[in-house]
């Protein structure tokens, strides 16, 4: 491994080594932690990538981070660990505030024993947020998931959507709703959902929601699932029923009117345009490739709404993670939306 994520330490000596690290740093550094954030990945370069993500958010979200690069299929068993601190300056006069990071490279049996190898190094009494960057595997390890307070995953990276979603459902049933499930792909669509919802706060636009007939979404290559989740959300909230399962699906609203949905793959942001059309009005949210705002327009005959543009977040992994951690939402609508569009997956 060319990238070294910190000071190498024996697995059994992590806490002691962290204590020593703090001792040596003197009084200029303050330790801060609100959560344990564990990130599990089976990609070869994940420690370096995830360390960059953590460094991007440590200033806004104090945590003990546990980065795990695992190869559970490797023969035998080996485990290596490194410790480091992510520090940032607080205020003009303040000293440095630091979050602890423990990085693991686990192979074979050690990679399959996260509870004993990794979770014995949690900051006690703080919630455990686990970001699972690998595919979920059957059979589900009940003991592992029951430890987790919030399970993050990103359906945008799944290659077998239906199978993975079913495994997520199983995890949800095992943990009896104690674990909050967070699809970062759903979080990714949040700012856009907020922008769309905002349009229909206006009394002149609200009635149009019942008469939508067209929905067009432009998405970047690889972001069809993000677009589908957005469709699932609208269908759930507006009571649409899926009637045609195809590449360009069709829904029916409560009055029996059809809503045609189409997708267009185009370079740019994950979702660069959402166009909604009712019988008498058109609404559009667009985001240019280099822009950090959502441009929102509304038009139609005798239509007086003039929606405002909104700030849009940067589409970086750290920003996405930060949005999820800051909102700490229960994601009550996610499973409804995902269930509606399940027939359209794959």
């Amino acid at each position: 491994m060319s990238f070294i994520p910190g000071i190498p330490v024996p697995i059994g000596g992590i806490e002691k080594a962290l204590g020593k690290l703090w001792e040596e740093s003197g009084e200029s550094k303050t330790r801060a932690s609100l959560i344990n954030l564990a990130i599990y990945s089976e990609a070869d370069d994940s420690l370096e990538k995830n360390q960059a993500v953590i460094q991007g958010i440590a200033g806004e979200h104090a945590m003990r981070s546990l980065l795990i690069q695992a190869n559970p299929e490797a023969p035998g068993s080996s485990a290596e660990a490194w410790i480091s601190m992510n520090c940032y300056l607080r205020g003009a006069k303040g000293g440095e505030v630091c979050s602890e990071q423990v990085s693991f490279q686990l192979c074979g049996e050690a990679a399959r024993s996260l509870q004993s190898v990794v979770f014995s190094h949690l900051d006690s009494d703080l919630p455990l947020i686990l970001w699972w960057q690998a595919d979920f595997r059957s059979p589900i390890d009940c003991k592992l998931w029951r430890w987790v307070d919030r399970l993050l995953f990103d359906s945008q990276t799944w290659s077998h959507l239906r199978e993975q979603f079913e495994l997520v459902e199983k995890i949800a049933s095992i943990t009896e709703a104690r674990t909050i499930l967070c699809d970062l792909n759903w979080t990714r669509s949040f700012p856009l959902r907020q922008a769309i919802a905002g349009i229909f706060d206006a009394s002149c636009a609200l009635p149009e929601l019942q008469f939508l007939k067209t929905l067009q979404i432009d998405h970047a290559p690889g972001y069809r699932t993000t677009a589908l989740l957005l469709v699932g959300w609208l269908a759930d909230r507006l009571g649409w029923r899926l009637t045609i399962e195809s590449e360009h699906p069709q829904f029916q609203d409560a009055r029996g009117n059809s809503i045609a949905v189409s997708f267009r793959e185009t370079a740019g942001k994950s979702i660069s345009r959402v166009h909604l059309e009712s019988v008498s009005a058109k609404f559009e949210v667009t985001r240019e490739a280099n822009s950090d705002i959502f441009l929102i327009t509304a038009s139609g005959e005798h239509f007086g709404c003039a929606p405002r543009s909104l700030r849009a977040p940067r589409e970086e992994t750290s920003e996405l993670l930060l949005l999820e951690l800051s909102r700490s939402s229960q994601h009550a609508l996610y499973r409804n939306a995902a269930t509606i569009i399940k027939p359209l997956w794959e």
Binding site: F190, R193, L206, C305
Partner: protein, 512 residues
Amino acid sequence: MNPANLLTVNPLREGITNRLAPEPCTLVIFGATGDLTHRKLIPALYNLAAEGALPPAINIIGFARREKSSDEFRAELEASARKFSRTALNEDLWKSFAASITYHQSSFDDLEGYKSLATAMEEADQQHGTRGNRLYYLAVAPDQFPVILANVRESGLSSAKEGSWSRVIVEKPFGTDLKSAQALNTLVNEVFAESDTYRIDHYLGKETAQNIMVMRFANSIFESLWNSNHIDHVQITAVEPLGVEGRAGYYDKSGAMRDMVQNHLLQLLTLTAMEPPTSLGADAIRDEKVKVLRSLRPLKGDDVFKHVVRAQYTAGLINGQPVPGYREAEGVPQGSTTETYVALQVNIDNWRWAGVPFFIRTAKRMPKGGSEIAITFKSVPKVLFNQKDENLEQNVLVIRIQPDEGISLRMSAKRPGSSLRIEQVKMDFHYGTSFGKATPEAYERLLLDAMSGDATLFARRDEVEEAWAFVDAIEEAWKTRSDDLAFHSAGSWGPSEATALAARHGVIWRRI
């Protein structure tokens, strides 16, 4: 379309926000060319707009005397927002937001100006869908309130149409004594119902002030100790190193008691001492706060001089730099007896707080600035570790309001070693350290609340008047004497009389 089946609630809103949605409205700012509008209101509104927190239909009208066009007004506001906004200004977002701002030129005493404002607002309702909802912000000196309110009423601006609302936001000071506060409240309530009156005390918009209730009522460990069985005394402090800084005209008439104690500090006292409310509804919370004010043991006559110390700073050093005394400051009348320092010891006569002294202190030209509430718990019994030659320090829970908002707890711990030595250690929670992100300005929260109809963080009429009744009695006593005015040099921690006041209860003022 069948209107009977039309949606009335936006179904897409669910799961997006967990607060009451602000309603479409026209916001009229009286005093739109003033400092408050430029430094606080417009930057706050811009940030709310950029985050998608403002209602979709909002129409902001600046009402002021000076001649200028809407374009000029917007350009001036843009320059201020660029300077004072907590986030960097984005050209496109500003343009999108500023499209909802217009300027309405009129003198405050010209009824025609209000009538044309009414016409402009009705047009805006048609154009922007602001639904006839009105929010009036009186960002002017209190002496302008009567003429503005009279004209607002006379022109029909205060009457909401059916299904709409008409609210007013009033900035402090809410009067200068009980009589003027009552007169002001009566004046406001003749035009706006009390439920439509929002009195801003920006201290209540601060995160830590809001967190006092969460800390007390969302943690079982604190509430069971929050009474006279366990608490020795409470100190509430708000001090600053600054002098009057160009506000001498106002400050010399007001003094520290009216400027700080009557509003900010008594608000903090009520949040600290109130009983658990029956709900999180605005009136349920404010009912409990009022009960605290009504339970304050009145200070009258000679009692005032036993329980209250007033003082004024003289020349001294702040951060090593010489500063003039209060009487030497520009605009302060010669021989002024206005207090720049107040320390009070008050009692709350109810079951929870019987026998627990509350100390309140506010001052200018202190060595450093800060606001905090410090709860000192009773000493442990004089057995085991607290015998004659040990004398353990008491546990102190400190809620820091500013700067560096947070909470700390001082407790005893054994110093490592073969002998038994007990040291004081501090458990410290800093908002900035744990939550990092810059917290929204108090005005952002308060403006949204007013648009949503949530009055929890605004002072109710009875709160204001009860606070004035308490403060007035002290002011009355002060009028009978002047020899009690103490002096302390700028940069010191206050007069010896204040030290003695605390010492009578075995208390030492905290170094903040």
